[in-house]
Symmetry: C2
Subunit: 249 residues, 2 copies
Amino acid sequence: MKDDFPDKKRVEVCPSPKQFELYQWDFDIVVAIDVLRATTAICTGLDFGVKKIIPVSTLEEAFEYRRKGYIVGAERNGEIVEGFAFGNSPFSYMNKAFKGKTLVLTTTNGTRAINLASKTHTVVVGALVNLDAIIQWLIEQDRNVLLLCSGWKDKFNLEDTVCAGAITEGLLATNKFKSDEDSTISAMFLYQSARDNYFSFLKHSSHRRRLKRLNLNEDIKYCLTPNQTDIIPILRNGALEKLERDDSK
Amino acid sequence: MKDDFPDKKRVEVCPSPKQFELYQWDFDIVVAIDVLRATTAICTGLDFGVKKIIPVSTLEEAFEYRRKGYIVGAERNGEIVEGFAFGNSPFSYMNKAFKGKTLVLTTTNGTRAINLASKTHTVVVGALVNLDAIIQWLIEQDRNVLLLCSGWKDKFNLEDTVCAGAITEGLLATNKFKSDEDSTISAMFLYQSARDNYFSFLKHSSHRRRLKRLNLNEDIKYCLTPNQTDIIPILRNGALEKLERDDSK
C-alpha cells in the first residue's frame, strides 16, 4: 500500500485454495489459515505437547495411517467422520494421552491447503490463536509471504480472510512489507470491520452458522480468541511440528 | 442474511470467473460486472444508440469479425490492442458514427465473464452507471441472481466486488431475497466502506493504479459515478442489446 521500495517484501492474501495457482509465484513462505477449526486445532495440539501432526488430504490416507496404528483425526463438513475418535475441535487436542505422540489429521479444507503448498514453499500454520506470534516471526524472516485462506470447499470464507487481514496489517505496519493485490486490500478492510469483536462480526459467516447447528459454540469462541499461544507450527518432511525460535532463520 | 423463508430468492456474489463453476448452480440470472471498464462501456454504448454489442472472448474472434467488416473494439491489459481503433473506454462509445450499428468487443476480463454464463443463464450487464436500474429490474424478476465479478485475470478485484455489494444490498433491502455465501457478506461490507466515496475508497485498487499509469483518470471518474443511465444490456443470441422494459418479464 505504501510506495514501492524495491527492498520491501511482499505480503498478499490468496482468498481460497482454488486461487493458489494464480498467487503462488514469487512467494517464499506460505501461511495456511483455517480458523474454524483445523489450523486452530493444530496450534492447540502442539501447544499441549503433541509432537507432530501429519496433515493428509484424503480419507483414504487417513484410513491407511489408522491401519498402521497411528492416532488419526478426521473431519468432513464440520463433523467427525464415522469410525474416527476425533475431528478438528481444538478441545480434542488438549489430551494428555496425545503428549509426545505423532497424530494424523484430515479435514475438509485446512489440511488440503497445507499440502497444496508443501512441495514448493516453506509452510507454516496461522490462526487467530497464534496471531501475534506468527506476525512477529514473519517480520523476522524478511521474505515474501503468501497468506493462504483455506476457505470452504474452494470458496472464499470470512473468518480466514479476517485472520489474513490481521496478519497483513501487522506486517505492513513495520514498513518492511508491501501489498499489491485487491484481495489483500479487501482482507484488511474486513479485518478493520471485525477487529473490535470477531465473535459478533462473524456471527453471520456461513461456517459459523454451519458449526452452530452442530452445537459447536464453545469451539467457535475458542477459535476466535486471539493470542492464546506463541506456537508456530511448521511443516517439515510432511509433518507439522513446533518451530523452535532458534531455528527460525 | 435474514431468516430463511422458503419463498425468498437468492442473491450471491461470485468473486471471479475462476470461481464460477462453484457458484453457478441454482441461479437463473447472471449479472456480469466489470466496472473498470467493459460493462460500463457497454451500458454507455447502448445508451448512446449502439444497436448491439457482440462480446467475444479472444482476439482471434475479434480479428475475424473485423475481416468481415464489423466495427470492433479490443482491449488487453488496460490498453487498446494494436490495429484496433478503440478499446473499452466508455467515452469511445459516445460516438455518433456508432448509432444503430452492431459493434464487437473483446476485453481482458469483462467479455469473458459475459460469455462464461451465456450458455446456461440469462445474462445481463451491471455496472455502477446503471446501478439502480439493475436493482429495480432484478427485484421485478423474482428469480435467483448470481452477481459475477469479472475480476482481473481470474483474480478477485475490488471495484467489481463493491458494485456487487451495492446490488446485493439493494435486493436484500426488499426482504424478497436472501444470501448465504461469505463472498456475499464480504461484498456488502466492502460496499458499506466504499459507498460514501467510491473514488477515494478505490484509490488503492490494483486496476485503478494500472489505469492511472495509462492516464485514464477521466475514465475512472466516469466509471465510478453511479446511476448515469437506466439501460440494462441483456444478452440475446450472442449479442448484448438494450432491454425494453415491457419485455422484462
